[in-house]
């Protein structure tokens, strides 16, 4: 039975259209113009227990809005969802007890007291037995290497240390589902890797289900086997990360090392993306790779040849811009 099931989730906002200038501001006092903005449209997917799934999409694609509907913070305009067996926006206590939400750009720890005080309050709110709480806290502080920082005022912690504390707060009640919205945003590479490692280790230990949004491909590659790509509020891909290239990649990268220097007419075989000594990179349409290679090998002496997919980030950037797959998902 899926831990998350979303069916046709749609969220439309009514936003005010501000008119320019002072006169416009006065007009707005008695007559306002509104526009309907569809943040998420007809999104359907399901996630099984224990999966680690990434939500990929450009800014404003609808990732966070979907996460917020799944965590019960906002009501959908239409569609339905079941998370951990509950309708999330009814916000049953039994539902809220079983999941956590971490937002990289927001703090849930109370400032300025030390994080340890926030954790104690957390224990009261979630009615956690003291022995369980102490054991989980010890496990998490050890996992994240912050045993000595919990008594330090939160405002005196670095951004990376604070995010570790946020993660601890989110995991103290041992949720079955963890929703993460940009958990590594603004962190340096060392802190990013530490957070990724913690999430991976925690998943290995507890089998918690994770749904993650991130702009950092490293997060996605390090953590998630499955990716949901959403652009302009619509889900355009649901499958393994490696499948994105097959689904969206129109071209291949052909690298050739010529025996007698790069021929002058090389650009008629494809788009030249790099030249270095006798080596050239050509972007060639996927369906024409064999034909192009045969033609080149027929005309020129080639010492070395390789055919690869273009970097994943390039493909994803193109998906974000175009928002449509090249053919239907399998």
């Amino acid at each position: 039975m899926p831990i998350i099931r979303a069916e046709g989730l749609t969220k439309t906002y009514r936003v005010t259209q501000k008119q320019d200038g002072l006169l416009g501001a006065f007009k707005g006092l008695y007559r306002r113009e509104y526009k309907e903005v569809r943040a998420v449209g007809d999104v359907s997917f399901s996630i099984e227990p224990g999966e680690m799934v990434a939500f990929l999409g450009p800014n404003g694609a609808g990732k966070t809005t979907t996460l917020k509907m799944l965590s019960g913070l906002i009501y959908p305009t239409s569609g339905s969802a079941e998370v951990l067996g509950f309708v999330p926006w009814r916000r049953d206590d039994a539902f809220r007890r079983q999941f956590s939400l971490v937002m990289g750009q927001k703090n849930q720890l109370w400032w300025p007291p030390p994080a340890a005080d926030s954790f104690q309050l957390h224990r009261e709110i979630y009615s956690l037995p003291k022995a369980d709480f102490d054991r989980t806290l010890a496990e998490l502080t050890e996992l994240l290497g912050v045993e000595k920082l919990t008594r330090q005022a939160v405002r005196e912690l670095s951004l990376g240390e604070r995010m570790k504390m946020e993660l601890i707060a989110a995991l103290l009640h041992q949720p079955r589902l963890l929703l993460l919205d940009e958990p590594t945003i603004g962190l340096d590479v060392v802190a990013q890797v530490a957070i990724q490692k913690c999430l991976r280790d925690y998943h290995a230990r507890r089998g918690v289900t994770m749904l993650l949004t991130s702009h950092y491909m490293r997060d996605i590659e390090a953590l998630c086997d499955r990716v949901l790509v959403i652009t302009h509020g619509t889900l355009v891909y649901d499958g393994p990360l490696s499948g994105i290239t097959g689904m969206f990649g129109l071209s291949k990268l052909v690298r050739l090392q010529f025996a007698e220097g790069i021929p002058d007419d090389v650009d008629r075989f494809g788009e030249v993306t790099r030249r270095e000594g006798p080596t050239v990179d050509l972007k060639v349409e996927r369906s024409k790779v064999a034909e192009v290679l045969a033609a080149i090998l027929d005309l020129h002496a080639v010492d070395d040849v390789s055919v690869t997919d273009p970097p994943l980030e390039q493909t994803i950037a193109r998906v974000f811009q175009e928002g449509r797959p090249t053919h239907d998902a399998a």
């Binding site: 906002y13 966070t64 917020k68 965590s71 019960g72 913070l73 906002i74 009501y75 916000r91 206590d93 039994a94 539902f95 809220r96 007890r97 999941f99 956590s100 939400l101 937002m103 990289g104 750009q105 927001k106 703090n107 849930q108 109370w110 300025p112 007291p113 005080d117 104690q120 309050l121 009261e124 709110i125 979630y126 009615s127 005022a153 919205d181 940009e182």
Partner: protein, 269 residues
Amino acid sequence: MRILAKYLRLLGSLARFTLAREMAFRGNFLVKVSVEVIWLGIMLAFYETIFGRTKVLAGWRKDEFLFFVGCFFALNGLIEMLFLENCNDFAELVRTGDLDFLLIRPIDEQFLITCRRVDWATAPNVLMGAAVMGIALARMHWQFDPVRVMAFLATFACGTAIAYSFMLVLTAFSVWMVRNQSLMEMWWLFSSLARYPKEIFLGSRAEPLGFLFTFILPILLVANVPANAMVRTLNPPMVGFTLFATAILLWASRKFFQHALRSYRSASS
């Protein structure tokens, strides 16, 4: 009962937690307490000035009125201590989207939003109000009467609940308005109305207002009924009406607040 015990325990934890937080900003704490002491001094000076010229004000004798002042001060202090700062912060929580982290907790949203922080700097107001009431009772040689005491305690709690309900409704508007700086102004208006005896609404023009603020928007019940029950006439129908109005207002304000939360849009990160 278990749920009530859980919420009381949680309230205690939140109070301890915010006390530790308040102590981190000692200067702010001391300034706030000083302002409240000065404010009580002004109220008492005004009271002395008036009763220096008359023995009775709108049917209230000097010591009875002193009790009324103490009752209002304690009640207002209790509201400010428990709810005002929380409600005032609500618009900011909506604007920034930080409300998200309160809504995902497995606990009543209204409780967590309106009770999460205790404003310890206004706690002395409750004690000062209680002290003024004690002095007034001693000066009028008040004879202990358990019925009056029970009626006072019940209607004092009702007064607090009525004030809380009004504040909750004002707070709920923040969900749509986002910027709700008018809450403090509205609360000032509310507390200004509640701080005077309802008998001041005399005459053909003022009496409809007195009726309005007693039976329709029952702001005048807040301090008038408990003070009357303790040191003047114990009026059972009025006590009954106060209990009834409290139940209705608590219910209606909760429904309105829950309705408002449905419109929460959660500001983007």
